[in-house]
Amino acid sequence: MRFTTSTRGDLVEIAAAGKLNMASASELRRVVAEAAAPGGARIVVNLAGTEFMDSSGLGALVGCLKTARGAGGDLRIANVQEQVRMVLELTNMDRIFTPYPSVETAYDGV
């Protein structure tokens, strides 16, 4: 799994490419903690390249959401692929993580 952090206007995009599973979940936590550290960061995890997520990966996303909010910011997800959408729906976590169709629209209307 590869994580790439970049700034898009007032958003911090973290592009996640590969499989978000038990082996890569801790790296996501580290990358998000770094992005959230300055405080108030509006983070978008771009899952366009995330072909697979398991419950460890989902657990890491929940941890990342708490980290971001704890630092006065927020975290959203965009460009969810089919398998990730299935996992979100089966666990009812699509109610916590609304999948946005693009990084740019993840904070629209906020």
């Binding site: 599973n21 082996a23 697979f52 398991d54 657990g59 929940v62 708490k66 089919e82 976590m93 109610r95």
Partner: protein
């Protein structure tokens, strides 16, 4: 039935990399069975990786032992089946295996969703003691 890699040949330490090796095994399985629809592949892979991850995270070694994992895969015209062996592990009571065994985790919980999800993805999910450990069986109709 075509069986890929009987367990004796692919026992490995139950660590995080076991999950990635499981993905690689499945890549080869899907290459060998191009007729299995993508949606079925995704559902089976999700269930299987979850079980292997569960072994890595939760299987407890018996006295003086270490936990090793091996995955057996079978595909026939109708079913996908996996047997996940956890060698060297004690047998555990797993409430999440029972339909009413555990409440849904809170939204902010970071674990506890895996087995419930597996139950919704396969028609058979079983966990049984064997000589030298335990075995998980997953089975799902693909056609």
């Amino acid at each position: 039935m075509c069986s890929l890699d009987p367990p004796a040949s692919c026992r490995t330490l139950a660590d995080c990399e076991a999950v990635n090796r499981c993905h690689e095994r499945l890549d080869r399985l899907w290459e060998a069975h191009p007729g299995v629809p993508p949606r079925e592949r995704a559902r089976f892979e999700t269930a299987l990786v979850e079980i292997v991850g569960n072994v890595v995270r939760h299987a407890r070694p018996g006295p003086g032992q270490r936990v090793e994992v091996a995955v057996e895969l079978n595909v026939d015209a109708s079913f996908l089946e996996a047997r996940v062996h956890e060698f060297g592990a004690v047998h555990a009571d797993i409430p999440h295996l029972r339909a009413a065994g555990a409440a849904s985790p809170a939204a902010e919980a970071e674990s506890g969703r895996g087995l419930a999800m597996v139950r919704s993805l396969v028609e058979t999910l079983a966990y049984a003691p064997t000589e030298g450990g335990n075995v998980w069986t997953l089975r799902r109709r693909h056609a």
